[in-house]
């Protein structure tokens, strides 16, 4: 800790000294008699700025090292693998630039830009997850509130939840006879469990004190729900939503590989058939990066709903 604070001070000294050095005599106007204003970096805001900058650098250095190491290892693997080897970072980067130069072209159903494929996958996740939320949230509340219902559905949930999401695909294809609703069905069924379970757990964990307030006031069921249950459960619900979208994003790529047509999963499979390994690598990065964005966005949203 000591070293860090020393660094900080040194950094500050360097940054401020630049500003406090006497100005060249020639440029000093005749009215220089009045005191110079404090250099901005020495003002309170300036110092806060340098401190923030230092903190930012300290936070950014370890991840930068990690990523650098990752690229290095990747390069080593690609160099040492026999022909045709794994494409290296530079080659992949070049391919990515070409790919993202025109992300939204459309040459018929099986040849669309990468942008379209991402959007298709996101749309399926959104629809499937939306339906899951629509069913799962009310169900979760009811399961949490009524012990009988909880006892009723508990065995069903514990039986169905461990089933691999893709096992549901044939059922979807059989029932809907089409790939689009079938893949949405897979998203729905695999993302509904975290929503139900987290909502129900949240409801059963609402502190008794809050419910006692509701009881002393003899609030109506509706008021109990809107003023007490819902806000108390919201943090749990947000966790459920986050897990569920995470699962949905994991599953969609696999589902699209099987259903084909459009989407990131389809694209990966298509590029595999073309033996375009750069594009497969790029797809992996896109999937990871989009997942990261979704996760961070939801975390940010969840923070806004936190009280206390």
């Amino acid at each position: 800790m000591n070293a860090v604070s020393l660094d900080d001070r040194r950094l500050q000294a360097i940054m401020t000294s630049l500003d406090t050095e006497p100005l060249p005599a020639a440029s000093t106007p005749p009215t220089a008699a009045r005191p110079r204003p404090t250099p901005w970096l020495q003002t309170e805001r300036g110092q806060a700025f340098t401190a923030a900058l230092g903190r930012w650098f300290r936070a950014a250095i370890p991840p930068a090292f990690g990523l650098g190491l990752f690229v290095l290892v990747w390069q080593l693997i690609s160099v040492s693998s026999s022909e045709p080897g794994l494409p290296g970072p530079a080659k992949t980067w070049a391919a990515a630039q070409a790919l993202f130069a025109d992300p939204f072209y459309d040459n018929g159903p099986n040849d669309q830009g990468i942008g379209w494929n991402i959007l298709h996958s996101l749309a399926r996740v959104g629809t499937g997850f939306g339906l899951a939320a629509l069913v799962g949230i009310p169900l979760g509340f009811m399961i949490g509130r009524f012990a009988f219902l909880s006892g009723m559905v508990a065995p069903i949930i514990s039986l169905l939840r461990p089933v691999s999401p893709l096992a549901w695909l044939p059922i979807g294809l059989y029932v809907f006879k089409e790939t689009e609703p079938a893949s949405i069905w897979v998203i729905f069924i695999s993302s509904i469990w975290p929503i139900i379970l987290n909502t129900a757990a949240g409801v059963t964990r609402v502190p008794k004190d809050y419910l006692n307030v509701a009881r002393v006031l003899a609030l109506s069921e509706w008021k109990v729900f809107t003023r007490i249950l819902f806000p108390a459960v919201l943090p749990y619900l947000m966790t459920g939503i986050r897990l569920s979208i995470g699962v949905a994003w994991l599953v969609i790529v696999a589902a699209e590989m099987l259903t084909g047509g459009s989407g990131l999963g389809f694209w990966v499979w298509d590029e595999w058939n073309n033996l375009n390994v750069e594009h497969i690598l790029i797809a992996i990065f896109i999937v990871g990066f989009t997942g990261l964005l979704l996760e961070q966005g939801l975390l940010w949203l969840a923070k806004r709903f936190e009280y206390a």
Binding site: D209, Y210, N212, V213, R215, V216, L217, A218, L219, K223, R227, I228, P231, A232, Y307, A308
Partner: protein, 263 residues
């Protein structure tokens, strides 16, 4: 004339994981309308449990509790409760917490403006106008307790149940709120049951002090009549011989007859 609150042979046994726990036994108490009862006893003897019984939050294992000759069958806004742990809803501001109660009690008859005025008045009573729009996690423990008091008082309950309402307050705030409480209770003629650990507070505020024996299976040990004239003034009482005598009685009960076994 029937007593307003009538507790007869009430006892409370909790079913816990480690078996049955006999908390209260054979509680008999009659409270007249407008009376101020202080409940005093060592920690864990069952004061909160007794208050919860009257509030209707729990049901006695045996015996009956009658309010206005009707059996207490559940909680209701005619019995406002100041919880020992304040129990504010953390997602609402202080104003929101009080407003929720005000709206429930007066919402059917009054305009929004009136409800707002009631809420603000209640918060002003506990000197919290400045912190009205803060959230519970932004205020101190004593302030939270005061919001809880404001919430209960704003409901203008017939029966006011208070579980150590001034426990977390500093001496000055405590004294000022005690004075306010005496004034309000005298004005509204609300019947009050108040749990306290503070002997001075009990003697200053109460008409009768109900002293409880130690648990388990606690019951009412003695009831002390506080026959000091009202309005009471804390400064005058400090030199009153009868006041000191009453105070001594309570202390004697607590520290000689019911001295807590070294636990």
């Amino acid at each position: 004339m029937h007593p307003y609150l009538h507790i007869e042979k009430a006892s409370m046994v909790f079913d816990t994981k480690k078996g049955r726990f006999h908390a209260l036994r054979d509680i008999n108490l009659k409270v007249e309308q407008g009376e101020f009862i202080a409940l005093i006893g060592h920690s864990g003897c069952g004061k909160s449990t007794l208050l919860n019984l009257v509030a209707g939050l729990i049901e006695p294992t045996s015996g009956v509790l009658l309010l206005n000759e009707r059996e207490i069958r559940g909680p209701g806004p005619d019995r406002a409760m100041v919880f020992q742990n304040h129990s504010l809803l953390p997602w609402m501001t202080c104003y929101g917490n009080v407003y929720l109660a005000v709206e429930r009690v007066f919402g059917a008859k009054e305009t929004r403006k009136q409800l707002k005025a009631r809420t603000e008045a209640a918060l002003e009573l506990v000197h919290l106008t400045h912190a009205m729009h803060k959230y519970p996690h932004e205020i101190s423990g004593g302030m939270k307790q005061r919001v809880g008091i404001a919430r209960a008082l704003a409901m203008q309950p017939k029966l006011l149940l208070m579980d150590e309402p001034f426990g977390a307050l500093d001496a000055l705030t405590r004294a000022s709120l005690q004075d306010e409480l005496m004034r309000i209770v005298q004005e509204t003629r609300a019947t009050t049951l108040m749990v306290t650990h503070d002997v001075d507070e009990a003697v200053l505020l109460a008409d009768r002090i109900v002293m409880m024996t130690n648990g388990p299976a606690a019951t009412i040990g003695e009831v002390l009549n506080v026959d000091l004239p009202r309005p009471r003034d804390r400064l005058a009482l400090a030199e009153d011989r009868h006041y000191h005598h009453l105070r001594h009685e309570v202390l004697e009960f607590l520290y000689q007859k019911q001295l807590r076994k070294a636990a």
